[in-house]
Amino acid sequence: MTTALLAPAGLTVVGLVLVPLLLVVRNSFASADSYGGIQGGFTLANYQDLLDPIYLKVFGYSLGMAGLNTMVCLVLGYVVSYYLASRPPQRQMLLLLLIILPFWTDFLVRTFAWINLLSPGGPVNSLTDAIGFTDGPSQWIPSQGASFIGLVYAFLPTAIFPIYASLRGVDNSLGEAARDLGCGWWRVHSRVLLPIARPGMLAAALLTFIPTLGVFVIPVLLGGGRDQLVGNLIVTLYTEFRNQPMGAAASVVLLLLMVASMAVFGLAARRLRRKTA
């Protein structure tokens, strides 16, 4: 009975997730024909090729970028969430809406908007000129910095929501109680509010770190495609190099990285729960 009811869902999962996944895994062990197609057979060559320093650098760079992006998003996310949670309730709704609003616009469009914003003589440039930080048109795009701004921009709301969720129910008097018991503002955060926000921070880290590894639009549009993330590497391998087996191998490695980081976050969450229970 239950098996019958679960069948459609099961079939969907098998058909849409498992089969393509297995195909990718299978292809990563295949050798390529001269046009880059799948030739079959079994070889570890694709993975060995990925050990080339050029590719290793991409993986290292991706992990670093994802880590940095996660850190910046966590810090900004905490600051914004704390600010939000300490506003009066109606104000909170309004501010939250402002954060959600961009989600209703296509991501590509928003990334292009950043190209305009950061272009030489664009709004950001005019602003930095006005405050004397720069002098005349500046070439900020494409650059690693622009690419990083794009990443933070893309993931900040995702980081804000879980952190805000863990802080918003918190009674205002907790912070006052901490001050009353001898905490200056820094210790109010480090001893009380941050620990309370920790589950939300963990969720935010998970939602930021893993997806950052697979991003490919931002480095191309804002970074000029020079410093690539794993996502870019996969696209390049599939399309430009026309080397499907190697693209598949890179995908499998990305998948393993994601699973590994999920395991790390999961473990951290378990430890956190045990501590607070």
């Binding site: 008097s173 006052e176 109680a177 009353d180 018991l181 200056g184 210790r187 001893r191 309370i196 607070t276």
Partner: protein
């Protein structure tokens, strides 16, 4: 506990100074005055209550003592030292929040130890001993490992008290400490708080809008209304000798007769000239209220039954209400106003509703109020 407000070189003044001295303290939010011109002293080791109706500024006054609000006027002195501008975490006092504000990520013991750990004023071994003692003080021995979520309302409050007292502040402020508890637990905790206060010898300042609570627990009470302190006195004095009509009405129940003073008599329109207590010191012609407590009023069938020297007013008995420990009689006087009499225990008057009666009282037990 490292209080700059009680530096050793200040000791000579600090030793004799009141725990709290407020001088002309006021607080205005935007253009609404929440507290106006409050001047009062809170003595060392006394149990002091701030009592008043909702919105009268009690919490605001207390928050100015803790430092969470900055007065817009006047000065707050703690232990004889001006505390204006001293942030809350540097004041030698603690607050018990109405919501208890226990930290959900810490267990009971960690909550209680919080202040000692933050202030790093004592070695680790002493901290755990202090926690055990603090938990014993509030009768929660062995609860150290529990999580906050596992506690009942009353237990949470005890934890909050232990946490607030562990650093032995010289002052503990409690904002409606019993507001969230049910009636029975409330009565129990009132006595308990009083007992704890005596044990630790710390000045307690509580905020409440429950008069019974204030009367039960306090050494002295400040009555507030509309942002002002109307009277600061012992519970007996507040009850027996209220300073204003508001106080007489707010604490317990009072009947009021309003009129104009002439010698030892009060001229009340359509009720006649009534005897008032002697030696009131008010000028003839002053408009005043005569306050009479219901328990000082006796009812008789005939005017002549009243003892000599008692004031007697005719009326009609409207209702008899049995209160358990007392019976309350609601009358209407001849001018149409309501009047209340009360006797201990069940009704033994033999009076029936609708019957004409006389309300009588000893003028010495009534009180004249000129505001």
């Amino acid at each position: 506990m490292t209080a700059p407000t009680q530096a050793p070189d200040e000791a000579p003044t600090a030793a004799s100074a009141p725990a709290v001295r407020l001088t002309g303290v006021g607080k205005t939010f935007g253009d609404t005055p929440a507290v106006q011109d409050v001047t009062l002293d809170i003595r060392r080791n006394e149990f002091f209550s701030i009592l008043g109706p909702s919105g009268c500024g009690k919490t605001t006054l207390m928050r100015m003592i803790t430092g969470f609000e900055v007065p817009t006027e006047g000065t707050v002195e703690l232990g004889g030292v001006n505390a204006n501008g001293v942030p809350p975490h540097k004041r030698d006092l603690n607050m018990l929040f109405q919501s208890y504000a226990l930290f959900p990520h810490l267990n009971v013991g960690e909550n209680v130890a919080f202040e000692l750990k933050v202030r790093r004023s004592r070695p680790k071994a002493e901290i755990s001993k202090a926690v055990t003692e603090a938990l014993a003080l509030v009768r929660l021995e062995g609860y150290g490992e529990r999580s906050i979520a596992q506690l009942s309302g009353g237990q949470r409050q005890r934890v909050a008290i232990a946490r607030a007292l562990i650093g032995r502040p010289s002052l503990l402020l409690l904002d409606e400490p019993l507001g969230a508890l049910d009636q029975k637990l409330r009565a129990e905790m009132q006595l308990e708080l009083k007992k704890i206060q005596r044990e630790v010898g710390v000045t307690f300042v509580t905020v409440t809008h429950d008069q019974e609570e204030a009367l039960t627990m306090s050494d002295r009470i400040a009555i507030m209304d509309g942002g002002r302190v109307l009277q600061v006195d012992s519970p007996e004095a507040i009850y027996e000798r209220p300073a204003t009509r508001f106080v007489a009405d707010f604490i317990g129940t009072s009947n009021f007769l309003t009129g104009t003073l002439g010698g030892d008599r009060l001229g009340v329109e359509s009720l006649g000239n009534l005897a008032v207590p002697r030696g009131h010191g008010l000028a003839d012609g002053t408009g005043v209220h005569l306050a009479i407590r219901p328990e000082n009023v006796r009812l008789t069938r005939e005017e002549g039954e009243a003892a000599a020297g008692r004031v007697a007013l005719p009326g009609t008995l409207q209702q008899i209400v049995y209160l358990g420990n007392a019976t309350r009689y609601h009358l209407t006087l001849t001018d149409g106003s309501d009047f209340i009499a009360e006797s201990r225990g069940a009704d033994r008057s033999g009076l029936a509703m609708g019957e004409p009666v006389w309300a009588t009282w000893d003028p010495a037990r009534s009180r004249l109020l000129d505001q």
